[in-house]
Point group: C2
Chain length 425, copies 2
């Protein structure tokens, strides 16, 4: 609108030039002043200017004072490091948009946003997007809002579908780009957050991250809107998304009441806000090195129950890149273990001293690595209560094919998708 008003000012000026009589020019001058005032109105709010260095100074005008206080409180050793980090968010919907806003307000260095969808009024029951943004792409609308909130964050947006060949290639290239921090090891981003709403897109993120040896976090909310989960995936070290059928949180609602044919998924700003909050909290813990980063954390909102577990990679995973990462991980394991031990010793005062929920009714535990064999992908038929598989395991599937897909191949994504649609709670 500012640009448009500048055009009007130019037009008024031309008009004024066409007169020599001051009595004709005076009223035009007046109108010009009025339009100038309106043009400035658009800027009259205290616009947030860029901040060169994060300061801990306790003044009302400092947007970072309450974050830098985390250092003085002994929670984070060096908060300002957040400006070095790049986070990619795939899917800017009910979870991804809120995660992006949280990271923006936390002063993350760089955000990469991926989505192909447009904002609709039907999205207004979730946080972030506003009715006046309807028909904008979600990426454009997000950049508009986020750059107003915090101009210090470097925003890159990609309006694409990562499940297409071209979209996937652009996605992988963008993750490789190291221009933001040329001396960074590995890829150009520190973490990928998957905030998509379908299986194919998750598999695409999984493929890209396995190829790049890129740590990522997956998030999801159930179709009935009342449960969700987050999961940490470290290629070679944890189960990848193809290692085992994904786990979801059982909502406890009778599955038979879920009429799937032609029914749109329900969603709530509460569940999605909680999942986005848990996801970004784990992101901050991962990046800034404090607290315990949950390997898997579920949220059953009907019972206010939060199951957690760990999953080891499947040594027979169908994903080739995952198998390569597993081999590398085994080779580097001694060095890693030593580093992890040193890190753990340094953090002893901050992290959990005892396993969580050990021997409880739900059989949920945070186990140390020696115990992991019990709960790995191949032997975890006894899942913690409250967690169910989205799909049958590959083994079950191959040994007990059902009628509907007896002839299909486990590698066939389209069939997996159909199964998911048929089975997903």
């Amino acid at each position: 609108m500012e640009e448009e008003l500048k055009e009007v000012l130019k037009e008024l000026n031309s008009l004024k030039q066409s007169f020599t009589d001051p009595s004709h020019r005076a009223p035009i001058d007046k109108i010009q002043l009025h339009v100038e005032r309106i043009a400035n109105l658009g800027n009259s709010g205290v616009r947030r200017s860029k901040v060169k260095d994060m300061s801990a100074e306790v003044v009302d005008s400092n947007p970072y004072s309450r974050l830098m206080a985390l250092q003085r409180m002994g929670i984070v050793e060096n908060y300002e490091r957040i400006r070095d980090f790049s986070v990619a968010i795939v899917g800017v919907g009910g979870v991804g948009s809120v995660a992006a806003e949280m990271l923006t307000r936390c002063g993350i260095g760089r955000l990469l946003l991926y989505d192909y969808d447009k904002v609709e009024l039907a999205n207004m029951n979730r946080l972030f997007f506003r009715p006046e943004q309807v028909n904008m792409t979600k990426t454009d609308a997000a950049v508009q809002t986020l750059s107003d909130i915090n101009p210090d964050v470097v925003l890159e947006s990609y309006t694409l579908n990562i499940t297409t060949v071209q979209g996937f290639d652009t996605f992988v290239s963008s993750l490789k780009n190291k221009s933001f921090r040329p001396n960074k090891e590995g890829s150009g981003v520190d973490l990928v957050l998957s905030c998509v709403d379908n299986y194919e897109a998750r598999m695409a993120v999984n493929q890209g991250c396995n190829e790049l040896n890129q740590t990522w976090m997956e998030s999801g909310v159930s179709e009935d809107a009342v449960s969700g989960h987050i999961q940490l995936l470290i290629p070679g070290e944890t189960a990848c998304f193809a290692c085992a059928p994904p786990l979801v949180v059982a909502s406890g609602v009778d599955e038979r009441t879920l009429k799937r044919e032609g029914v749109c998924a329900a969603s709530l700003p509460t569940t999605m806000g909680v999942i986005a909050g848990l996801l970004v909290q784990n992101t901050l813990k991962f990046l800034l090195n404090f607290g315990l980063v949950s390997p898997y954390l579920g949220y059953n909102s009907l019972k206010d129950f939060f199951p957690t577990m760990e999953m080891k990679p499947n040594p027979q995973c169908s994903n080739g890149a995952c198998m390569e990462r597993q081999k590398e991980y085994l080779i580097l394991k001694p060095a890693r273990d030593a580093a992890a031990k040193a890190k753990m010793e340094a953090e002893t005062s901050l992290v959990v001293e005892a396993p969580l929920h050990l021997d409880n009714e739900w059989s949920i535990s945070v186990v140390d690595e020696s115990e992991l064999d019990k709960v790995d992908a191949k032997t975890s038929d006894a899942l913690p209560d409250g967690l169910i598989r989205e799909l049958p395991s590959a083994d079950d599937y191959q040994t007990q094919p059902n009628e509907a897909s007896a002839s299909s191949n486990i590698d066939d994504l389209e069939d997996l998708r159909k199964q998911l649609e048929a089975l997903n709670g």
Copy 2:
């Protein structure tokens, strides 16, 4: 800005009228058209108009389709009832503003907002407020944003401090006002959410709600930003805020590292977003009658640990209104129990079948009423792991006075405040 542009159009019109020569009028016509186009630009986004009835129709333009889907999914019996409800939110800060936005997007009938503070850049590390709203009152800024998001919600804002005599009176009067739903039983609101950041304000909410026999929910986030809680308070039935020293979630951070003198509290959009999400989720469950409404739910973000417990009222509570509600509750108990039993039987298919976390390492359990004597305010020295008291209990306090406050009276709010400041973690 629209009004301003209309003024410019009037001025251009007067200017045009001062000329009779068409060659002079033509360029002014052109400028008028340009300004008209700009004036319409401000409205060019799809502005959300009011929606008379909530529809479940699955079209992109329906802002309620994903919420009404909760009915077809079997989660909520009658979602549209949400339009009958009034919720009061005291404190429109990092938790209250997000709670207000969630309820607004869920299509709540009426929101009452209370705050006396102004928006500052130092608030930008939490969700909701935008930099261009700096220096507006939080209530005005909230009404601006919320009415844009959902014009169907009736918004009432009160720019006041409820800890002042006048503010408290206005607060209580506003809760009593039944003009929104004249035939409602009890007060004029269905639930009060306390989203304040200090002890006095919580005690004021507690006093008002005890006097009005008003169910409310309390929320809080720790000064180190990494833990928080929500709590359900039903006068006479559960512990009131004065019945026992309030419980908070231990963050596990060494308290000695918390330098309190002159240090501003830390805050994170993640923790506050999670607490707001849990609070509004419990609000929806309470209002729309689904799932289990948690009596107390904590969030320790460093460990991703969520303690829960129940607290019975203190039969020696210092709050007179609480004691009256306790007496009424005992008299009405048989009738209530019968109603609760009938309600529970009707909901059997939706709610938790077994106590949560029974016999687990953390000793946290959802117990039935017969077991409650074990954990009531007078005998709950053995708190669930992860929960600590904000203050010593009244008994401890009176039998073991410490040097700093040996002569003070437990009823003296100022002394309690000082104690809180000295002890609160």
